[in-house]
Amino acid sequence: MKRKGLGFYLRIYGKILAQDLKSKMSYRADFIISTIGMIFTNIAGFISFWILFQNFPSVGGWSYYEMLFLYGFSLVSLTPVQCFFDNNWSLRMYVYSGDFIKYCFRPINLFFYYQSEVFDIKGLGQLAFGIGTLAYSWSRLGLDFTPLMLLKMIIFLLTASLIMIALQNAAAATCFWIQNSFYVLDLVTRFKDYAKYPITIFSPVFRFIFTFVMPVAFIAYYPSFVILRPDEVPLLSWLSPLIGVLFFWLSYKIWMKGAMSYSGTGS
């Protein structure tokens, strides 16, 4: 098959996105309520955070604003998975009903076509909230603001989000082998709530697990070192972009392996 360029895929993505937004807009009330619900979730998360720190000045050597930075970082880096890969949640339904076969007949990359079908606008509220939190804690911590810092920030945010995308892809792909992957997906989604805590609070065993087995520490903890404490960056922080890309590639392979062995339901 002839390889198609990036420009081609971007153009296709734009077209599919426009269709998706049009169909979403026809359920306007649902759209508005869902967006408010998402904002509620973020505000509640912030309030519980705030209540905690009303009672305690710091947690495990991390100050309030540093924790806030981690929290904002995790919110922003979790936005892409919410916006661009939300169709993973429907995968098990498509596979179960046999509708998945329709994606197999398109002359473009299967994974790309499947994920491009849904764009979740709700994630944008989270993005705005996360950026606000980051900016606030950034100024309160008195960190410098230089173009280089900004560049580092963007690179590390992007690669951090690859980790969560990879986890979700792999979790969703389990439905090609086991019928009901909802519980696996749900379990993995709960991981992201733990991303906002510094892993130094855990015992060595769980530090190891959260770094290498379930790599949630790469969603906020390791990458934010580069900005937050530039003098004591551990090696794993510099490796985190590499690890993000590696994990994404692996999850893509798993997903595609499942999709390629899919034989339909016969209807």
Binding site: Y27, S34, G37, F40, A44, L52, F56, V59, N180
Partner: protein, 267 residues
């Protein structure tokens, strides 16, 4: 006799909930992970605080509170809003309304089976493990009896709130957004994520005027109080009873007024 139809529904619910064994296993694994995170997080918090008791709660008090709140959550979460929303969208509600039992009662009793299984498979094991691990931090006496009474009322209040919110779906036809808003408000204001004892002053007073704290905070504080003041105990239970009755009446009235709203699309 009259009672037979309820027991039949309970049995059917028990059999249904035992169908998804893999799902239950994954839920238990997810809970374990959550408990580990909670344990280390609060341990670090108490270590940073420097004192053993914060706001009248020791570390083991807080741990028991949060662990049992999770167990209670699994036990009480009935996904009523989802169920109602989906049957409104699909039109199944028309069939349910034709059943020779009031809809509100029918929904409750068809879920009662999962109460029984959840109680034996998640709540009781968790309770025993926590009681064993914290070694006598849970006082085993009359407070257990009051705890059970309190939980029964909590179930009723929780169900009424769920039913009330589910009724809203008749108007909005949006499930996800409504459900997430309810979940966020209930878990935060009921003290399921952070004990209400930690709330800062104006917020604490407001929360005590709302029905949500009767769901998690009331039963758990009764359990933790080994030797309660009779008056305080009576006040807590009385407040719960008040909300129990008020919310039941409210949800009934709202449902009656809303029944006319139902539009079923086709058959």
């Amino acid at each position: 006799m009259n009672l037979k139809k309820y027991i039949t529904l309970t049995r059917a619910g028990m059999i249904e909930s035992l169908q998804f064994r893999l799902g239950t296993l994954v839920i238990i694994a997810g809970n374990l992970l959550y408990l580990i995170v909670v344990y280390f997080l609060w341990k670090a918090i108490y270590a940073s605080a420097g004192t053993d008791t914060v706001n009248g709660m020791t570390f083991s008090d807080t741990l028991i509170y949060l662990v049992l709140a999770t167990a209670l959550f699994n036990f009480m979460e009935m996904y009523i809003v989802w169920e109602m929303g989906r049957s409104i969208q699909s039109g199944k509600i028309a069939l349910d309304l034709l059943k020779p039992m009031e809809y509100r009662r029918y929904m409750f009793w068809s879920y009662s089976g999962s109460f029984v299984t959840q109680f034996f498979f998640t709540f009781l094991p968790t309770f025993i493990v926590v009681a064993a691990v914290t070694q006598g931090a849970i006082h085993l006496g009359f407070n257990l009896l009051f705890f059970v009474i309190s939980v029964v009322m909590a179930v009723s209040i929780n169900y009424s709130i769920d039913f009330l919110v589910g009724t809203i779906c008749l108007y909005t036809e949006s499930i996800w957004g409504i459900n997430i808003m309810k979940q966020v408000i209930v878990t935060l204001l009921s003290g399921a994520t952070i004990p209400i004892a930690f709330f800062p002053e104006p917020l604490k007073t407001i929360v005590y005027f709302l029905p949500f704290q009767s769901i998690y905070n009331a039963p758990l504080s009764i359990l933790l109080e080994g030797h309660p003041q009779p008056l305080a105990l009576l006040a807590t239970l009385g407040l719960q009873l008040f909300w129990c009755i008020t919310m039941t009446i409210l949800s009934r009235l709202f449902w009656k007024a809303s029944l006319r709203q139902i539009t079923v699309n086709g058959g």
